[in-house]
């Protein structure tokens, strides 16, 4: 699935990817790839503008971390980000349920 199809959902995906543990950019990409079974194959460089936007909004915080002598910028969810994630998850579940019912013809 390419970036265009994920537009509008990227914030939710990124917030969910750092929900349980702070992660650097490449780890976030890998998390998205693994959790989606390889379906989310984004242009990796375009995730960083989105991460910076989330940081500007106060939903994630970032700091430099030295890992085995290598410098990485690590992102973690803030309290506000956790609230935002819960809100977006509720919206997504309602949306997905409505789409499923419509597509599958459920009453």
């Amino acid at each position: 699935m390419q970036g265009e199809a994920l537009k509008g959902h990227l914030d939710l995906l990124l917030l969910a990817a750092v929900e349980h543990r702070p992660s650097h950019g490449y780890a976030i990409v890998e998390t998205l790839r693994q959790r989606s079974g390889g379906a989310f194959n984004l242009t990796e460089g375009t995730l960083y503008p989105a991460l910076h936007r989330l940081e500007h909004a106060g939903w994630v915080a970032s700091s430099w971390s030295d890992q085995n002598g290598r410098r990485r910028r690590v992102y973690e969810l803030t309290d506000r980000g956790r609230e935002r994630l819960a809100e977006r998850q509720r919206e997504w579940r309602a949306f997905a349920l409505a789409v499923n019912h419509t597509v599958e013809g459920l009453a």
Partner: protein
């Protein structure tokens, strides 16, 4: 050869970011770390270092695309902030032009052109927003004034509006173009 391709890419990314007035140090450093991780992971999967670099760069995306995304995110807010002075300039010029004894079209056109150009220096894209914010007031005032005083003259606002917007478009895009050119030239020195 190993590593050269990535350093070349990072130099290109830095240049593309700076052309768009996006601070580049942190982004380039993050990209360096990301690409190093991607290369290591690919080598661990059995690729040669050369093929791993190629794959990492391909997955990361063209430097220009990445820089454009950063610029779009960064300037999304600034573009809206620039609208406030643009509206103020537009209203001021329209008020001067609407004065009963003002009859110097040349000066009005000059103010529109220079005002739009100076404001255009502040944006890196969507200069048309600046042009509209500056240029909409003179024809807008003409329409409002005509409706109250002489409804038959409302139609005369159309050609005036076209000329005013053509001037502000020219000015705003000129300003944005000068900014881009100056930044790009600075990168090449």
């Amino acid at each position: 050869m190993s590593g050269d391709r990535i350093e070349t890419y990072l130099s290109g990314l830095k240049r593309e970011l700076r052309i768009r007035w996006v601070p580049s140090d942190r982004l380039v450093e993050e990209t360096r770390g990301h690409l190093a991780d991607a290369v290591n992971a690919a080598v661990a999967r059995g690729l040669t270092p050369d093929a791993a670099e190629q794959e990492a760069l391909s997955r990361f995306g063209a430097a220009r695309t990445v820089a454009e995304q950063f610029a779009a995110e960064r300037y999304r807010r600034l573009e809206w902030i620039m609208l406030a002075p643009a509206l103020l300039v537009g209203i001021s010029i329209a008020m001067i032009d609407a004065r009963p004894h003002w009859d110097d079209t040349g000066i009005t056109v000059g103010m529109l052109l220079i005002g739009s150009a100076l404001l255009g220096l502040g944006v890196t894209r969507r200069a048309w927003m600046i042009a509209l914010a500056v240029g909409v007031w003179i024809p807008g005032w003409m329409v409002a004034h005509s409706l109250v005083e002489k409804p038959a003259l409302v139609a005369s606002a159309v050609p005036v509006g076209c000329v005013v917007l053509a001037v502000t478009m020219a000015g705003a895009y000129l300003g944005m173009g000068v900014r881009r050119l100056a930044t790009y030239s600075g990168q090449r020195v």
